[in-house]
Symmetry: C3
């Protein structure tokens, strides 16, 4: 932990960040930095700068000292110092301060822009390990582009999952058809028929958006026994947030529970209470509040507290959902530590929780739950 | 009040618990106890123990001292002591500490597993009274099984409501067809036609799931002038929570308001702000946050505070929604007292509320509102 | 600021109230006052008095001293004193204490009951300015009643918008067809066909409820470059709140963003986190939590804090949404100042925000954002 957020005593030690992306490994000017800050369009006529947000305040308050600046340094000072140090040094400082033991890295979004899982891990520390999370829709599109027969798609995806070293599969159903996934695995003929209907025109590339196909991909991961991550809730303007309420997954979760394969609901904000309910009533459902934590900055404690109302303590995970900017790995992790610690400490102060239990819950959520869900072992 | 939660000075005196169930009157081993704790599946491969939750912490913190244990006793110590004392002694201590004046008991769920309203009242205290809440769907299914002509079902239900001593009817529309009830009473012919379509196969029993029939039953209670309780929101994995948002009731509430019969929205979490809105804009709508209070444990104050934002003070009720475990009557009641008191006290400390008003609101919510809504009298 | 809420140091100076209505300029007895208090039906058999609510507490606590009474005066004392002073003196005190620099007044609801924008401004202070917000559906209905050819409606509305001095248009799509507005401007022929289908019977008046027509009106404002206010969320029992979730606007917002015309989401409670998300991902979207602030009274800080989690600081506005009662202008404004100040001050105390930034955010939200969004100039 950085000394800028020093008091998270119940949530110490290396964390497992069970969902993040790669870093952009180049120096960034202000527009490029702002475009990567949040789910919005960067700076804008009406928005002004994305620094005028809880995330912007958090960067100026907590990241500035890691670059040797005073807390609350202004945006230009911050970005000037960032460029002077160089992106690699900044990444080493931010990821080092985050104290990350293990990273699970989604490699399916803008892979040409960002670095590999191994590169993130190397910047995070000598002992940090990384694992791949493989994206289902991208994998399927690649296979179709390579000439896979649509009737064989499911089998081919399953084989590719087996060949990969991925510890989890990820579905972006939320961006493609919404979360109302089918409560039974579609047949290969149904998949082929759906693909036929949405095959690309000559010269265009495959883009899987059909509910039958997206559902089949999610079921393929479940049947392969591979933990399934699902984007839920909060995202950019391409998402239809109403269709991303995790409650739309209810029938799918009811149908998949007998497989005992973890289904991990990512982000969830502003539906995090809904996700916590699902994690309570379905044994195989896990959740996090990644992405929301660094975006809500110093107000993120509330999001964590809302979530703890119902979530079983063994099913809450940590993720940063960081993409591109080193600051997001640090803030996502440090603010989550701090917010969870603050909630636990408040319960201890009110004598609603023992110190020993608080420390145990901190360890579970920070690392042990993810280690167990993904079978990461200790090696 | 137990001395473990001693400070709820604005919410003192015997409460009316306007919605609970019976107790399981036998000693319980750990798996049996855990299976009754919350809306989840009990212990599980990924969940571990349901004690690892806010409810589990609350049992260990607040129920343990009632059994003569230290606060925060571990689960095995707690359950061992519980078995040594015997379920009846535990029930007397828990229900006694809850200080319940009147219980309204739903007798329609797993009646073979749980004790009668009179038995709950006897365990709760010498002066505790109980009343029955009659379940509409169960009553109708019983009548059909007894050979009632589907065309006569509505009349037969109404007669059975009149013959019963129930002070309220309850609908579990949420579990059967969702809350989008019809905004006019279906005719007997429409009910008969719907029942004909869903009549059971030979050897099977009636299970009413049709929206027309469920709506007709709710309308029957309204027309009979019997307060209507509705399960809303939070429930187990059989529920489709999206269909249980109380806002789906808007058209039904608009149509029924002219009858001046109380409609009482139960639980409501995580849609409790929605329910509070309905209680503000419809005169005949009441609400509670039962079930959510003991499940969210030491974090339940937030749920109560969210609710108070809009709910008229004369339309918030207390319920535990306890089922089976004596602990849930105690925690549901004690935590609600404490949470409501804490919100009121905070307002008094900030000089936003006078002490006299705080005490008046406490009395209203704890008992007077329910007494008025159900016409319970003082006798 | 009144000395009853003296500490809002980060949110001082005259505000822009970017959405309110006129005052009822006559003395009111208790039933008449209560009927205007909130979105409910006034006093009622089950509700008792609307004074038994957070709003009622706020009036007794914060408005009573402005009438020379003790804080927490009871309702009858308050209303007696109010009548003795006379409505005009009460209005001068309340609106003066609110410290309003500029009012944007919606003139489309019950115009015979309430005073004009200029009259509100005159009561608010010597230097207070007012501007009209023109209601789209009312304008269109007026034009149709005047004999405008349905095929020409869009052109006629656009001309009337241009002729008016309104600084914004307002749509009450929420009350007419829900917020799922079309993501492209309907053609004049489509509008005419839709109007033909819903033309009034002889002797009846036009009431526009068709989604195509309501969408066309919203698009007309966008194409005219006039900022578009939309009622979202919280309203009276005529609204179907589920259809008023701002997320239903997603496709419309995606389609309109290229016009760079501000779209201003009003009220938003209990979907204010949803609105804040939209304000983050769409550059042209602004929001407020008006109406909810005075209704939730001393609990309104939470609503403001929820909102700040994601909203860009340059896109949060202040509105009272006051209608009829002078108290609502005062409370809507004073409580918003106080709540926003409290959140900012708490962040400053925790060293998560600098004092200079807190003051800047206070100024932006209180006045500068609205001045910029509506091009109000400083003159």
């Amino acid at each position: 932990m950085s000394d800028t957020l020093p008091t998270a005593g119940y949530v110490t030690g290396p964390v497992v960040d069970h969902h993040c992306h790669g870093l952009v490994l180049r120096d960034l000017d202000r527009p490029a930095f702002e475009a990567l800050m949040n789910e919005g369009p960067g700076s804008g006529r009406w928005t002004g700068s994305p620094f005028d947000s809880m995330l912007g305040l958090a960067i100026r308050r907590h990241c500035a000292p890691l670059l040797g600046l005073e807390p609350h340094a202004d945006a230009d000072t911050y970005l000037g110092r960032r460029q002077a140090l160089g992106h690699e040094e900044v990444a080493r400082r931010m990821l080092g301060a985050a104290d990350i033991g293990t990273l699970l890295v989604d490699t399916g979004f803008q892979p040409d822009e960002i670095c590999s899982p191994a590169e993130v891990a190397a910047l995070a520390g000598d002992t940090t390990r990384s694992h791949q999370v493989i994206r289902l829709e991208t994998t399927a599109q690649d296979l179709l582009a390579e000439g896979t027969d649509p009737k064989e798609l499911r089998t081919a995806v399953r084989q590719r999952l087996a060949e990969s070293e991925a510890v989890a599969a990820k579905s972006i159903a939320a961006y493609r058809c919404g979360l109302d996934l089918l409560d039974g695995r579609p047949t290969d003929m149904e998949v082929a028929a759906a693909l036929h209907r949405q095959r690309p025109a000559d010269g265009e590339t495959w883009r899987i958006t059909d509910r039958t196909v997206v559902s089949a991909l999610a079921w393929t991961a479940i049947e392969a026994g591979l933990p399934l991550q699902l984007h839920v809730g909060y995202g950019d303007s391409d998402v239809d947030l109403l269709a991303c309420d995790p409650l739309h997954l209810t029938a799918f979760l009811r149908a998949t529970q007998r497989y005992d394969v973890p289904v991990l609901l990512l982000h969830n904000y502003p539906f995090h209470r809904h996700a916590a309910y699902l994690a309570q009533v379905f044994d195989h459902v896990f959740m996090d509040v990644g992405l929301a934590v660094h975006n809500t900055g110093a107000l993120s404690r509330r999001v964590i507290e809302d979530t703890l109302e119902l979530v079983p303590f063994g099913k809450l995970l940590h993720s940063s959902d960081a993409f591109g900017l080193a600051e997001l790995y640090y803030l996502g992790t440090a603010l989550f530590r701090q917010g969870l610690h603050d909630v636990l400490e408040d319960l201890v102060m009110r004598d609603e929780l023992s110190e020993a239990d608080a420390a145990r819950i901190g360890r579970q959520v920070a690392a042990e739950n993810a280690t167990r869900a993904y079978g990461l072992g200790s090696g």
